[in-house]
């Protein structure tokens, strides 16, 4: 990978981006760059727009009726809203993991190969190889390798969430979006997923929304603090948490927020 390069080109560029649900503006002129093979955490109080921003990176918000946007988001220099960009192929490059683990009511195997199947790739050897690679990548292989063809609903919550991560990385995306992936999990499962993210970022760029400040400090390289739809501060995680420049940031991370 490009770890040795002195200059990291931003893989995701958010450029003066505003977003509206109907008349209600939820993101105000946000501009920020996400760096490749880094974990970027989005933090902020509920309703600050961090999830909305995350869900715009793979255009998940298009599903909501009555939304529109201003400004632009680019991945590798190409605008997401370029008429030539197909939403489906975009989502193949940008995987996503949700707050509530949501495996399909299928076998573990079929869950992981779903992104390949919908892309029309059905070769047995490729599917088998993908299942093993993805499950190993999500640190789940040893636990489920003997029951690949059993229902995914037989797994524990933490395992189901890691299965969802395995599914998200099955198609080898460049970017992985995680929307509070540990919110529904116990501390041990949370730790496992945090360890996993450490491994994953060797191949991926991760953007994570989290409410857990400790988690942000543990796992992220960079942190952005959003408040009421505005990007208040964005910088290295260490700097944000030890020496915030903005008063609002400091108030939030120290818990003195009103």
């Amino acid at each position: 990978m490009n770890d040795t390069k002195p200059y990291e080109p931003p893989i995701i560029q958010v450029d003066d981006f505003s977003f509206f649900y109907g008349d209600k503006q939820v993101l105000h002129n946000i501009s920020m760059d996400f760096e490749e093979n880094k974990v970027t955490a989005l933090i902020g109080p509920s309703g600050c727009g961090k999830s909305t921003l995350l869900r715009n990176i793979n255009r998940m918000n298009d599903l909501v009726p009555g939304v529109h946007h201003q400004g632009d988001i680019r991945i590798d220099g190409t605008s997401l809203y370029d008429p030539k960009v197909e939403v489906i192929s975009l989502r193949k490059r940008v995987g996503m993991v949700f707050q509530k683990y949501n495996p399909f009511p299928k076998s573990i195997y079929e869950n992981i190969v779903f992104p390949l199947r919908v892309a029309g790739r059905n070769s047995r050897s490729e599917l088998d190889e993908t299942v093993e690679r993805s499950l190993k990548g999500a640190a789940l292989w040893d636990e489920v390798k003997d029951k690949l063809h059993q229902s995914a609903y037989g797994l524990s919550g933490g395992q189901q969430q890691r299965l969802c991560i395995a599914r998200a990385i099955a198609n080898r995306p460049q970017i992985l979006l995680m929307d509070e992936p540990c919110a529904a999990l116990d501390p041990i499962a949370t730790l496992k997923i945090e360890d996993l993210m450490e491994d994953l970022k060797k191949d991926l760029t991760i953007v994570i929304v989290t409410h857990n400040m400790q988690q942000a400090t543990r796992i992220s390289d960079k942190t952005a603090f959003l408040y009421l739809g505005n990007l208040i501060e964005y910088g290295d995680t260490a700097q944000i948490f030890t020496n915030p420049k903005e008063e609002q940031t400091e108030a939030y991370i120290t818990g003195r927020f009103s």
Binding site: M60, L63, M96, P103, F104, Y153
Partner: protein, 579 residues
């Protein structure tokens, strides 16, 4: 838990909860009505198959008059109120007695005042006979006159087993004859019809004349077809085929004649209480038993014989005797066909309404219209089915594909009522149920699953097809179960779109393309109406009505249970959409 001892004592009746008993009474009333109805149907339906005790009644109508003896079962025990000579009301205890032998007595039932019965006896050798014609008969057998002239006496211990052997043999012959007549000869008749139609087509299209000793064919003015290259040779070929079929036909009729050689030679001698010896050919008897001689298990055997015969046999005597197999089969096939038609249409419609259509006033009004369709009286659907499906669609199909038959025989194929149109009409009628429940099932699929599928790069259709629809399947099945429950018992729309009181052949059989969707069919619901209210002897048909009702309920229950089992299986697999 009560630490506070100063709490006031609990009121005898919880305050504000005084009317709970009203709701429970409502439920109890509902349950009593449902189970009462089911109980009456099950009791009467099963009782129809149970052998009843036969009595010999000695009746004296005038105080010093002549005594007469009649044989029969007691079917009703009731009290009649009359005004006596002083103008006072008097109650008279009477029996309704089933005697059978309709052709001898003019009626199968009679009423007897109990006080006029001098003697009532369970004669052990009384027989109940089920006959091919004339319904049942209760007789006192004397013996069997065999074709070799010898007589088997009814007092012999072997009599009953000989009787059963002989009736079984006659039954076997009857079945063989039936098989040949309906199967082999029926097939030949169908082929003959087809060939004769071809002949008629050529004859109506071409003039064939002898000119100088040579046959010449010229096209007529209004030919049905005009593209036959050599009509003369074609005609000769057809006639030869017809001749061949006729010869085949002869061999079968010879076979039938041979089977029938011994028919009507063994004769049962019996009397009906007045010592006049009567004769009845044994092959007129389908089944006979001595009810008074039977123990419990003997009666159970007769019950089982009646029950299986009822389910598996064809009806006889204007449906009042015999079985109801064609009606069970027709109901089953029609319901299956209806489900096969309504499910895809309903599911596709619901997918469009829920997933693709832009939600707004237009879609909302479409939805309201669909829901209101469920409230349209079923006969309206029947009339629509007759007008649109039968006459318009069926007529167009006939014009396009069966025009030869239409032109020559002037008989429609699909342009007349039949099982396909009846099923389609019922499918239309039950469509709202399926659409509504499918829509509900679709909207109950968790949002997380939709987002997950889309985030994996699935298109909207892939998401619906691979994730949402499987999860919604249990809900679709719920709709289908409701649709089947409504459709299977519906009669009114069928009466105009395809049901008949007696169908000559089943919609699926071993002949030709095996599935004959254009055929008319029999239906249990219509059978109940026909037997109960259209038959000449409604008293005799009453047990049949209850038994048929029981069978209809059983069929609906069995089909619904099958659907429910499938649904539970699906639910287990797709437990995410617990709904």
């Amino acid at each position: 838990m009560d630490k506070d001892l100063s709490l006031p004592p609990a009121p005898k009746r919880p305050i504000g909860e005084a009317k709970i008993w009203l709701t429970s009474i409502g439920l109890a009333l509902g349950l009593i009505m449902i189970f009462g109805l089911l109980g009456i149907i099950v009791y009467n339906g099963l009782e129809a198959f149970w052998p009843k005790t036969a009595y010999a009644f000695t009746v004296q109508n005038e105080p010093e008059g002549e005594k007469t003896t009649i044989y029969g079962n007691i079917t009703k025990d009731q009290t009649r109120h009359v005004l006596n000579a002083e103008g006072k009301q008097e109650s008279i205890h009477e029996y309704q007695i089933f005697t059978g032998n309709k052709e001898k007595f003019g009626q199968a039932f009679r009423f007897i005042d109990v006080h006029r019965i001098v003697n009532q006896e369970e004669l052990p050798r009384l027989m109940t006979l089920e006959r091919l014609e004339g319904g049942k008969a209760i007789v006192d057998p004397i013996g069997i006159k065999l074709q070799n002239g010898s007589v088997l006496k009814a007092t012999d211990s072997e009599f009953l087993s000989d009787f059963q052997r002989l009736t079984d043999e006659a039954d076997h012959v009857r079945k063989s004859v039936h098989r040949i007549e309906k199967g082999d000869i029926g097939a030949i008749n169908n082929k003959l019809d087809e060939l004769q139609r071809e002949v008629k087509i050529i004859e109506r299209s071409y003039d064939i004349r002898e000119v100088n000793g040579v046959s010449v064919a010229t096209l007529k003015d209004n030919p049905i077809v005009d593209d036959i290259k050599n009509p003369i040779a074609e005609l000769a070929k057809l006639k030869e085929q017809i001749g061949e079929l006729h010869r085949e036909y002869e061999t079968y009729t010879a076979q039938v004649a041979k089977l029938r050689e011994h028919e009507g030679k063994d004769i049962l001698l019996y009397q009906l209480g007045n010592n006049d010896v009567q004769e009845m050919p044994l092959d007129q008897i389908v089944y006979g038993f001595m009810p008074n001689e039977l123990g419990f298990f003997g009666k159970l055997g007769v019950f089982w014989h009646h029950f299986t015969g009822f389910i598996l046999d064809d009806p006889r005597e204007a449906n009042t005797e015999g079985g109801i197999f064609p009606a069970i089969f027709g109901t089953f096939i029609m319901t299956v066909l209806m489900s096969m038609l309504v499910t895809p249409i309903g599911v596709i419609g619901a997918i469009y309404l829920r997933e693709y259509a832009k939600q707004g006033p237009l879609v909302q009004s479409v939805r309201i219209c669909v829901n209101n369709l469920a409230g349209v009286p079923s006969i309206v659907f029947g009339v629509f089915g007759l007008g649109f499906f039968v006459y318009y669609l069926g007529g167009s199909i006939d014009q396009l594909f069966y025009w030869k038959k239409l032109a020559v025989d002037n008989t429609p194929t699909f342009g007349t009522s039949g099982i396909l149109w009846a099923s389609l009409t019922l499918a239309l009628m039950t469509l709202p149920v399926v659409i509504v429940s499918t829509e509900e099932a679709l909207s109950a699929v968790p949002r997380g699953l939709r987002e997950a599928a889309l985030a994996c790069g699935a298109s909207k259709w892939q998401m619906i097809q691979r994730i949402i629809l499987p999860c919604a399947l249990p809900g679709v099945m719920t709709g289908l179960i409701l649709a089947m429950a409504r459709g299977a018992g519906e009669v009114a729309p069928l009466m105009v779109t395809g049901v008949v009181k007696l169908a000559p052949s089943l919609p699926i059989d071993g002949e030709g393309p095996f599935v004959h969707l254009e055929r008319k069919f029999m239906h249990l619901g219509f059978h109940i109406y026909d037997v109960g209210f259209q038959s000449p002897d409604s008293d005799a048909a009453q047990p049949m009505v209850f038994a048929t009702t029981l069978l209809l309920i059983l069929l609906v229950v069995v089909m619904n249970l099958a659907a429910i089992l499938i649904r539970n299986k699906l639910r287990k697999r797709y437990q995410a959409s617990s709904f």
